[in-house]
């Protein structure tokens, strides 16, 4: 049986659906990614799975326990790293971990060793007696990941684990997660809006507007585009779009912010044909092998990171 099993999950806030009929399952030992833009419903889904939030309808099982009716079973099976910081700033790194051990009723003989082991893994051994409020964002994140793993959970949930981190730290955290699965063999469920992180998952579900629009391995999702992506910037996108459709029998997608993309089987052969076939001026042509960005773009007509220029560090405080 799958370790996470979600069926037709629905959750609305003030009549607006945040999660709108989500179904998926995760096999034991997988790294499963939820990929979607801000507001897609990723955190809401995690909160329901983790027993923090009640769904309006649908069911979710984690490690064989029902999130609604058997919260205790679910809580014993999972480790969580939330999107926003949940450490106690007034305690030291070591005390935060110690607190967690007590809370999870770990065997005392094991705790000290386990804490040291994980502090070493996240590279915080020499800072263990410092107050957390003196830590940088990256150090806090690493400490939280260590904490989420202390009690050897069957499933580790990571909600945007690299949000607000610099690229270097992001890479470290990510390597650490992959490494960890290899060492401890637990299932990892993570959300992200970074494509490169999604690429590293075994399987991903692309979520947008509270619905899953695709769910497969990154490879298959890219293959499903069947070919290369050509992006064009032209003087008149609407006209170019029409000409490509009617003159050349292609299927271009208009992009909201301007430009066109189309998927073709052999890009390098198609480009000359396209240029010849268009009457409007072409400013740029770009050919790429498909990426998950293209998958998302193709399926929604939007870029995933529309908030590119927004401050990545703004973490919202938690409200119930």
């Amino acid at each position: 049986m799958a370790i996470i099993e979600v069926r037709d999950l629905v959750k609305s806030y003030n009549g607006l659906p945040a999660v709108n009929g989500v179904s998926f399952s995760v096999e034991e030992g997988e790294i499963f990614g939820f990929l979607g833009p801000n507001g897609a419903g990723k955190t809401t889904t995690i909160n329901i799975l983790c027993t923090l939030l009640a769904s309006d309808s649908g069911s979710s099982m984690v490690n064989g326990f029902d999130s609604m009716t058997e919260p205790h079973g679910v809580r014993s099976s999972i480790g969580l790293v939330f999107q926003e910081m949940t450490l106690d700033n007034e305690l030291t790194a070591y005390e935060n971990l110690k607190f967690h051990c007590y809370l999870y009723k770990m065997k005392r003989a094991l705790t000290a060793q386990r804490i040291e082991e994980l502090l070493a893994v996240v590279g915080l051994s020499d800072r263990k007696n410092d107050l957390v409020k003196k830590f940088s964002g990256g150090m806090k994140r690493r400490l939280e990941i260590a904490r989420g793993l202390l009690h050897r959970p069957k499933v580790l949930f990571l909600d945007e684990p690299t949000l607000g981190l610099d690229p270097q730290t992001r890479r470290n955290v990510w390597e650490f997660i992959a490494d960890l699965r290899a060492r401890e063999g637990n299932t990892v469920f993570m959300t992200t809006h970074y494509m490169d992180e999604a690429e590293a998952c075994d399987r991903i579900a692309i979520i947008d507007g509270g619905r899953i629009i695709a769910c497969d391995t990154p490879e298959n999702l890219k293959l499903s585009l069947r070919g290369d992506t050509i992006s064009l910037e032209t003087e008149d996108d609407a006209k170019a779009c029409l000409e490509l459709k009617e003159g050349l029998g292609l299927e271009p997608t208009m992009i909201k912010d301007g430009g066109l993309t189309l998927i073709v089987e052999h890009g390098e052969k198609e480009i000359p044909r396209i240029l010849k076939g268009l009457s409007v001026g072409v400013r740029t042509v770009n050919l790429k092998r498909p990426t998950l960005d293209d998958v998302f773009l193709h399926m929604t007509g939007r870029e995933i990171r529309e908030d590119k220029n927004m401050n990545r560090n703004s973490r919202q405080p938690f409200r119930r």
Binding site: N47, C50, T51, L52, L53, A54, H72, R75, S76, I78, L80, F82, E84, M85, T86, L87, D88, N89, E90, L91, E95, K98, F99, H100, C101, Y102, L103, Y104, K105, M106, K107, R108, A109, T111, R147, P317, F318, R319, R320
Partner: protein, 259 residues
């Protein structure tokens, strides 16, 4: 051996935080002394005119001691429960809410830590008793430990009930001004309640702090006279106990709701 004590660790965390926050510790120790010595001195001549032989000079200050102990544990209890709101605002509450411990464990942990911190602060004030002419013996100290614990517990439970419904720290000022300060002023801590006009007097009758302060007066001001206790001690204990039980049940219920 299993570290089976989530309550223990929640209590320990509150203690650590309390003793690390120097400002809080200082406020806690200095505020009651300001009330006692500044307000106490100022008002004592007004309330109890000094006789030619100097008698009665410290009478009001003595009267104020039980009230100031009541105030200290009121503020301390409410303030410690605000850590729940703080934890919610800064996310730490979720660390506890997703752990495999019952909501009741969290409530009990917060209750015990709030009670213990108030007890500590309330009992510290007994040190000044001999300096203002309140004589206390071992019996009275033991009685006070019991009563201060009981009152601290009930006020912490009350604070927890409020905290369960506060979504952010902004609400704290409102609670402070509209609930906590009136509770203090209408408790018999600063003046006997019997002279209040009827509507205010009715408020003091439903105010748990009135009974708490009154119980302290039984122990600390046993002499009788116009500044001593006004209700029977047994009534004080029963009222505070019932209030504590109701508040504990209500806050346990409030915490078991899922968002």
């Amino acid at each position: 051996m299993i570290v089976n004590n989530a309550v223990y660790v929640i209590v320990m965390r509150e203690f650590k935080r309390f003793f690390r926050q120097r400002g809080r510790l200082l406020t806690t120790l200095v505020r009651p002394l300001l009330w006692l010595f500044i307000v106490g001195t100022g008002l004592s001549r007004l309330v109890a005119p000094v006789g030619d032989d100097g008698s009665g000079a410290g009478e009001y200050m003595q009267f104020l001691l039980p009230g100031v102990i009541g105030m200290t544990i009121l503020f301390s209890s409410i303030f410690s429960t605000m850590s729940v709101v703080w934890d919610r605002e800064f996310g730490f509450l979720r660390e506890m809410l997703v752990a495999p411990v019952s909501r009741l464990t969290i409530v009990v942990g917060k209750l015990l830590s709030g009670t213990a911190l108030s007890l500590f602060q309330g009992m510290m004030l007994l040190i000044v008793a001999p300096f203002i002419g309140v004589e206390i013996g071992l019996g009275q100290v033991i009685a006070m430990v019991f009563l201060v614990s009981l009152v601290s517990f009930s006020l912490t439970a009350f604070g927890l009930f409020i905290a369960a419904h506060l979504k952010s720290l902004e609400g704290f000022n409102v609670i402070m001004n509209f609930i906590i300060l009136p509770m203090f002023f209408l408790s018999g801590a600063l003046y006997p309640v019997e002279h209040l006009p009827t509507p205010l007097k009715l408020v003091t009758y439903i105010n748990p702090l009135s009974y708490g302060v009154d119980a302290f007066k039984h122990v600390l001001l046993p002499g009788g006279g116009r500044l001593s206790a006004e209700f029977p001690l047994i009534l004080d204990i029963i009222f505070v106990s019932v209030f504590a039980a109701v508040m504990m049940a209500l806050s346990a219920r409030a915490f078991s709701k899922r968002g």
